[in-house]
């Protein structure tokens, strides 16, 4: 039994709680337990808040890490944004004693201290390292054969590669391996590692620019005859799911590509229903994908 402190962030608990509920259950299935971090806040979003004020971004991120450290466990996040902020904050604070003292001076006013004792991990690392592809493969009881999945890693998990250390950011493998372990087929598509468009405050300031990124990716996914997008980031997830509704409104182009967080795909392979997985709360129905599966089930 492995235990992690779960850092929720914003979009997972406040927009896609189905991911929170199903990931917790699926991790439990593989003997990984999550401990709550009480009183955490926004991570805060790496490209957005650090663009406004680096000091404030770092202090809030350091508080979140400090709260996680109080549980005595390593910290996991389900969102690349949270992963990016907490990882970078930890990296900066560990590498600069003066900065760490300054930030801890601020945190001491609210009874916290950044120590640097907890590792920051993305939940996909728990699946690839702690659980492992083989165990995922063995646990699958529902065939996902025939599902053409287009993976989207998201930027802040892979990059900067010198800090995140997940191998090549140009040809990543981690998520594709998990997808293939579920029994689905990972299908390559043009500009697979391109950004979804969500980050850096562009979504709030220039929604049409953001959605044009998303539209380009969706067009490429359609060209590759993808049945669904499989992502590993709450922000990208929102971008692709809600973004399709917004694209229809702004550009008049209609897509109906189901968007799955990778644990939802694993959950499907474990025979979990779409309600249980939170799929029926998405803006884009997963029905075409489920129909394809039900039609093809052996």
């Amino acid at each position: 039994m492995k235990e992690y402190a779960s850092f929720l962030g914003c979009i997972i608990p406040n927009r896609y709680p189905g991911i929170e509920a199903s990931s917790t259950r699926i991790l439990g299935h593989f003997d990984v337990e999550l401990v709550q971090i009480n009183g955490a806040s926004c991570c805060p979003a790496p490209g957005v808040f650090s663009s406004f004020h680096l000091d404030s971004w770092l202090a809030i991120a350091a508080r979140n890490i400090a709260l996680g450290e109080m549980t005595g466990k390593d910290i996991i996040t389900m969102c690349n944004g949270c992963y990016g902020s907490l990882t970078e904050a930890s990296f900066l604070l560990k590498g600069n004693k003066e900065l760490k003292e300054k930030i801890n001076g601020i945190l001491s006013k609210v009874g916290c201290e950044f120590k640097g004792t907890s590792k920051i991990k993305h939940v996909i690392e728990v699946f690839s390292e702690d659980i492992g592809v083989k165990k995922i493969q063995e646990a699958m009881n529902t065939s996902l054969e025939g599902v053409r999945a287009c993976t989207h890693y998201g930027c802040h998990f892979l990059k900067p590669a010198e800090m995140k250390k997940h191998g090549s950011s140009e040809r990543p493998r981690l998520l594709d391996e998990i997808v293939e372990a579920s029994g689905a087929r990972s299908v390559d598509y043009k500009d697979k590692t391109m950004c979804c468009g969500f980050g850096g405050g562009v979504r709030a300031r220039n929604l049409d620019v953001t959605l044009d990124f998303t539209r380009e990716k969706l067009n490429n996914i359609i060209s590759a005859r993808g049945d669904c997008i499989v992502d590993q980031c709450a922000s990208c997830h929102l971008e692709f799911d809600r973004g399709q509704v917004e694209i229809k409104k702004i550009f008049g182009q209609e897509f109906r590509v189901p968007v799955l967080y990778f644990t939802q795909l694993i959950g499907m392979g474990l025979g979990m229903g779409q309600h249980e997985l939170g799929l029926d709360f998405h803006s884009i129905p997963a029905k075409p994908l489920l129909d394809k599966l039900n039609g093809g089930r052996r």
Binding site: C10, R15, E20, F52, L54, D55, L92, K109, P160, G199
Partner: protein
């Protein structure tokens, strides 16, 4: 955009010095000085998914910055069209820490009052609730349906935790930068 002819006195020679002063509070000086290695090869712009659809040109931004076009860099919209995807950061053959440099430039822009209303709004959510994306009534119902607590165990459930976040943001001066009024819990001078 600078005109074809630029008079030397229009250039701001302290721009780069200010950039280093502000950036070094968080980042190493080596990292900040990396931009001086830029040879204008354009790998950044060629890799940039934003430049495919906007006028944003990373290469141009760095050239202007190094030449001292302070106003053009800090007051323009282009600076805000980077999604911080780090593709150029990974690919820069000269090791320029592109995305970090852009974030420091954005901090400089914000400190001079160039902050979009939409961004002030985003910032105000964190000051008010601790979340950049706060929960809604609809999602609270959804959470209950899924067997989760109606409010997540975050600042949404712990008022003292929210106060801690707000205290930190007062200490760092974030409230002043954003123009947040604690009495009304709203942004000052909303247009």
């Amino acid at each position: 955009m600078p005109a074809n002819i630029t008079r030397i006195n229009e250039l701001n020679s302290s721009f780069f010095k200010d950039f280093i002063e502000i950036g070094k509070k968080i980042f190493s000086e080596d990292m900040l000085h990396s931009v001086e290695s830029c040879v204008q090869c354009g790998c950044c712009t060629g890799s940039c998914p934003s430049s495919r659809r906007t006028a944003f040109r990373t290469r141009k931004l760095f050239r202007e910055m190094l030449l001292g076009f302070r106003d053009s860099v800090l007051e323009g919209d282009d600076l805000w069209l980077c999604t911080t995807c780090y593709t150029c950061y990974e690919r820069c053959p000269r090791g320029v820490k592109t995305t970090d440099i852009i974030r420091v430039l954005r901090n400089m822009a914000v400190s001079q009052g160039h902050m979009a209303e939409a961004h002030r709004m985003t910032a105000s959510y964190v000051l008010r609730t601790g979340h950049g994306v706060p929960v809604s009534e609809e999602v609270q119902k959804l959470r209950e349906e899924l067997g989760l607590s109606s409010l997540p165990p975050t600042t949404h459930s712990y008022p003292e935790a929210l106060r801690a976040v707000q205290e930190i943001l007062k200490l760092t001066g974030f409230d002043r930068i954003v123009g947040f009024d604690w009495k009304t819990m709203e942004l000052r001078g909303r247009k």
